[in-house]
Symmetry: C2
Amino acid sequence: MKVAVLGVGLTKFGELWETSFTELFVEAGTKAIENANIDGKDIDAIFVGNMSGGRFIDQEHISSLIADYAGLTPIPSTRVEAACASGGLAIRHAIMGIESGFYDIVVVGGVEKMTDVLTERTTQILATAAEQEWEANLGMTFPGLYAMMARRHMHEYGTTREQLALVSVKNHRNAVNNPYAQFRFEITVEDVLNSTVVAEPLRLLDCSPITDGAACLVLASEKKAKEFVDNPVYIIGSGQASSTISLHGRENIAIMDATINAAKEAYKRAGIEAKQIEVAEVHDCFTIAEILAIEGLGFVKIGKGGKATEEGLTEIGGKIPVNTSGGLKAKGHPVGATGVAQAVEITLQLRGEAEKRQVNADIGLTHNVGGSGGTAVVHIFSK
Amino acid sequence: MKVAVLGVGLTKFGELWETSFTELFVEAGTKAIENANIDGKDIDAIFVGNMSGGRFIDQEHISSLIADYAGLTPIPSTRVEAACASGGLAIRHAIMGIESGFYDIVVVGGVEKMTDVLTERTTQILATAAEQEWEANLGMTFPGLYAMMARRHMHEYGTTREQLALVSVKNHRNAVNNPYAQFRFEITVEDVLNSTVVAEPLRLLDCSPITDGAACLVLASEKKAKEFVDNPVYIIGSGQASSTISLHGRENIAIMDATINAAKEAYKRAGIEAKQIEVAEVHDCFTIAEILAIEGLGFVKIGKGGKATEEGLTEIGGKIPVNTSGGLKAKGHPVGATGVAQAVEITLQLRGEAEKRQVNADIGLTHNVGGSGGTAVVHIFSK
């Protein structure tokens, strides 16, 4: 498979109280269309990743809302949802739309408006990504779920509290150079260790924030892309896997099997191996999640993620820079938009347009997770 | 395009207080898998149409939940949503999954559990399919929106109150012979005209009910299907279109332009014309909606739908039997499931398995609408 990324667009990520859900999507989409140098009339379909318009803004049917406000009716517009993996999933189904021959050029975006409700309600809404009957209804929240994974990882593999903190320190450092990031300031290991406890062992600075934002790509078939640009970045692999929605169903909560399975499919479709990846955006909703990700993706052996982080493997300048954008932790995590924003960053890196956070890479990867690992989506990009 | 329907499965439609959301999907899915005579291990992916798990049962990420409870992890599982068109949309994206070469065999289902919340909250949840800012927040509900369309249609084309009632009378008559239908009793024009006013001119018996239920199909590539069955029913056309989410944005609310545009694409892909359709399941969420549907699909000229209904065109025994299942009105309308349930009925009709409601047909059509027509999805089936 081979689908071209013709254009990318991002809104600023943050608490955007003066910008509506629809305005966010249209802003990112317009930027992507301009970046692709195409016209609105070239677009055959829209795909939207969104976790919970229904609860964050009381609005379902956002596919129609977006097509309407973008002035793109009557083209097909589809929302896909798998909690925080909604963005990555939208990309995968946009690819299928193109590879099936239904469409030549599509806009695929992700969007979430999370700050229109009170914070305690946001926590409840995010918990709808976990199983209600066996997790959320009993009071479990996402920091709690990832805290259990962190504890188990520390127990099984000797991962340290400081290694977890180093994920956050790195991602904050990277975000300083990302003009779209929510938090553009550095933090230290001590800052993380001294921040408020959220769910032991995770503290405030281990957790990604609540964010408004949108991200869009323009994708095109290989043939169609050549009409617009000589050497686009291509998506050459896609993988998606499911797992049990709740942690108690998993054999081992110190690994994320959906990541392993999604990566396997993506590598196979791309015809490459993990060791060929040169830059990656992974789903660091909590610090432990980045460690689980780099292990599940095969960048390091299972259990070695903490140590590898400590040794600088994933820093800019390391062997596989991870979350050069600042990641979910520091760039921000508008849940439905995240998977698409990851693809924007990898495209910029492969184009050589990542400015002060530029790394040297020909092949990149995105990794997007829903819930505590009930869904994972992986994409592989190549120059 | 040509994708085979290998199996179909339905739950009973109704107020199923003793059956959970997950149990509904798994029951319909198991029936479809048994009907297809395949094993769980043959399935490459799951697609789920669902309007608002997030609000009806406080659960997003239902793709993972369903894969988990169906015992089908780690295969990819995806939810798509476009309000009441979610089921039809799931079928379309399952087709893309197959036509793109990503999958050989998929389960595509729709499910909604609507009776776990109070009725007034159900009305609010359904109103999230309309634009919040300009419709729902001002007190507009779906009966109100369709009542405006009905009034305009009566004004423009002389459609009568009795013609609207005849849609309901026909669909109730058909449902008597559908063991899965919610309402298996006949009603008269007088019953409709004397029922409680909901939103003038629409009365209670003009409106589809609140329903729990699920429906599933097993779809396969043409090549793969031949390993399992000699002469499956095929889906030979698919169309999807968007329109403005709110009525005030439309040029004419007495026509449904998304239906017209989706039908155009579906007929083109199938290489057929409207006059070749011999049986159809259309989106009669309100009686006026069936009239708008048969006009938009090209079965009759715009404005002639009421008259054609009166003359018996759409009855069993008429030229194009419509809603032989009982339609949304009498079979029931579990919103996310409806589009898939329509496909189950057309498959049964083309297989000759529709028992006492059997008609003589080689080519059939399904038509599924989201909101007041912000989304429409059309599929064409052939023996």
